[in-house]
């Protein structure tokens, strides 16, 4: 629960008292957490909890109060320490862009002009394609790939520039369970090999539980962070949501359930005393 608990080493990402208002609505309120180098962190929250906004703040694309430091320096646009996989990515199947083209763009897409082909460049792209098991569709158009394959290509695009922090915005949202599991396993393997810190957002935490070191739980614009055991508890999440929630363990899966009976008990309308259960995560 502490703001900066990073096992001694200097954090790769330090988010300190960050608040963001969009169109008069407070999207993030006093959010603080830190990520140590090589740490795998899950950013958990329902849709609209502010996960994408938080990513935009870290990437330097969104004005915010508070401070964000990446690798010890203030956040900036085009930070080579950060790799990013966006939530929204859709290409028509006829767009002339091969898997290897998209991965190569990860190297130097910010440079103006056309890339000069070289053996070293090609070798680097091949190596990255190999790392995400994308050799089989290296020359296929990106738009023709399945969702899981596209995620792997986007991860390669983000990792080829050798970042120290990888941000992934809901990479599992449109994947079936099996592809989702594959993507998570692949991420865990590569990032631990190369000691890259990961901040991965999801509205459903269970697929991530086997691999994450820490969790940042976002609700109502506020955040709680720590190990899963520290954060995913009835007391902590109830305080975060501002009303009572229950954390249940069902066959090794965690369910966060909002029970509104306590609030409704005050009303005299007995037809509403029945507990309303909403599974949040």
């Amino acid at each position: 629960m502490s703001d900066v608990a990073t096992n001694g080493s200097a954090p790769i990402l330090a988010v300190d008292h960050v608040s963001v208002s969009l169109a008069g609505r407070e999207v993030l309120r006093d959010v603080s957490f830190a990520i140590a180098p090589g740490e795998f962190t899950g950013l958990i929250g329902s849709n609209g909890a502010g996960k994408t906004t938080l990513f935009r703040v870290i990437l330097g694309l969104q004005a915010a109060d508070g401070s964000v430091r990446v690798g010890g320096a203030p956040r900036s646009r085009r930070n080579p320490l950060i790799g990013y996989v966006p939530q929204k990515f859709q290409l028509d199947p006829d767009v002339p862009l091969r898997t290897r083209d998209l991965v190569a763009l990860g190297l130097d897409a910010h440079r103006y002009g056309v890339a000069t082909p070289s053996r070293a460049r090609r070798a680097r792209v091949d190596e990255m394609l190999e790392a995400v098991d994308a050799r089989d569709f290296a020359d296929a158009r990106v738009g023709t790939l399945s969702g899981g394959e596209q995620q792997r290509v986007l991860i390669a695009h983000a990792l080829i520039a050798a970042p120290k922090l990888l941000l992934l915005d809901e990479p599992l949202a449109n994947l079936d369970l099996r592809s989702g599991h594959e993507v998570v396993a692949l991420l865990a393997r590569i990032t631990s090999e190369q000691r890259i810190a990961v901040l991965i957002s999801a509205h459903e935490m269970n697929p991530l539980l086997p691999v994450i070191d820490r969790i940042v739980y976002l609700a109502a614009g506020r955040a709680a962070s720590g190990t899963t055991e520290e954060v995913v508890r009835t007391s902590v999440l109830s305080a975060l949501y501002g009303h009572h929630v229950d954390v249940l363990q069902v066959h090794g899966r965690v369910l966060v359930v909002a029970g509104e009976a306590g609030e409704l008990a005050d009303t005299s309308d007995h037809s509403h005393t029945q507990t309303q259960v909403e599974i949040i995560s």
Binding site: N79, V95, A109, G113, R141
Partner: protein, 299 residues
């Protein structure tokens, strides 16, 4: 055999200066349109291209009024329209779409006035047809330097934008996260698009200009997998289509019993590109049918 060849390639064809000028101008137009057009299709800006082409009618007819070369009129109108579209419809794709439509309407209103004044002030009736549908065989060699300069500008612009343009065309989110100024790149690209449209309008007419911009690029997208190859293929397809059209139009001088007039080159260009587009889609269609066909008898 040589007699048949001579019937296709009329002895005067290769030595005709009119043909040489038309072939030169259309080759440059095809190269520019191939380079710019592939991005137009990827970015889904065909409608913006069409609107810029239509609005360049205003510039062309205005230029005719003040006796300036039409290429300059097309260029000024297209660039000005692109600037206005960018200024008033910036925030959202839908806003941009609406802005394009509104600027288009205003521009065409002016064109109606200018074309009317053209016909009042000049006894020639050909101006309207020549501006709107093009007349490649009336282009004089004096226009070539300007065509080359415009072409070089547009191709250099797209080449210089290069990787940031490609990434922001594919995913604005990815591009923005990499610190690419997506808005600036978009504006610079719109400038290249306006120049390409001006050259295409000069070659095959204002309202047909998008056919040369988008058509060869759309065919190339069906045949190639990488951006560089798509651009090369689009340029080659554009050159093939325009040159073949010049030949057909030249031969058409004889089709109406020595009427002394050829069919419009633009007609052949647009028709060939359309046929090419259908042909390029054929392999995929056949493949899909083969995949579905075995399933049918069971039903």
């Amino acid at each position: 055999m040589s007699a048949q060849l001579a019937a296709i390639f009329d002895p005067g064809f290769f030595t005709s200066q009119i043909v040489q000028v038309a072939a030169t101008v259309s080759a440059f137009a095809a190269i520019v349109c191939g380079t710019v057009g592939v991005f137009t299709v990827i970015r889904g800006q065909s409608f913006a291209g069409e609107a810029l082409g239509d609005i360049s009618t205003t510039g062309g007819s205005g230029a005719f009024l003040v006796a300036v070369g039409p290429l300059w009129g097309f260029g000024v109108a297209a660039v000005a329209a692109a600037a206005v579209m960018e200024l008033i419809g910036i925030q959202r794709p839908r806003g941009r779409d609406l802005a394009t439509g509104i600027v288009l309407g205003a521009g065409l209103g002016l064109a109606a006035l200018f074309l009317y004044l053209d016909s009042v002030n000049h006894s020639t009736t050909g101006a309207t047809v020549s501006i709107v549908f093009g007349s490649m065989f009336t282009i004089t060699s004096s226009a070539i330097p300007a065509v080359i300069a415009f072409s070089a500008l547009a191709v250099c612009l797209v080449t210089a934008l290069g990787r940031p343009l490609l990434l922001s065309s594919i995913s604005p989110e990815l591009a923005a996260a990499r610190g690419i100024p997506v808005r600036f790149v978009g504006v610079a690209y719109l400038l290249a698009l306006a120049i390409a449209i001006a050259i295409a309008a000069f070659t095959i007419g204002t309202i047909l200009s998008t056919a040369l911009l988008v058509g060869p690029a759309a065919i190339a997208l069906r045949l190639t997998r990488s951006p560089a190859r798509a651009i090369a293929a689009a340029a080659a397809i554009g050159i093939a289509a325009t040159w073949l059209s010049i030949l057909l139009a030249y031969d058409s001088y004889d089709w109406y019993h020595q009427s002394g007039k050829s069919w419009p080159v633009s007609f052949f260009v647009v028709t060939l590109i359309f046929l090419g587009y259908l042909l390029a889609g054929l392999p995929r269609r056949l493949r899909r049918q083969r995949e579905i066909a075995p399933e049918l008898p069971r039903g």
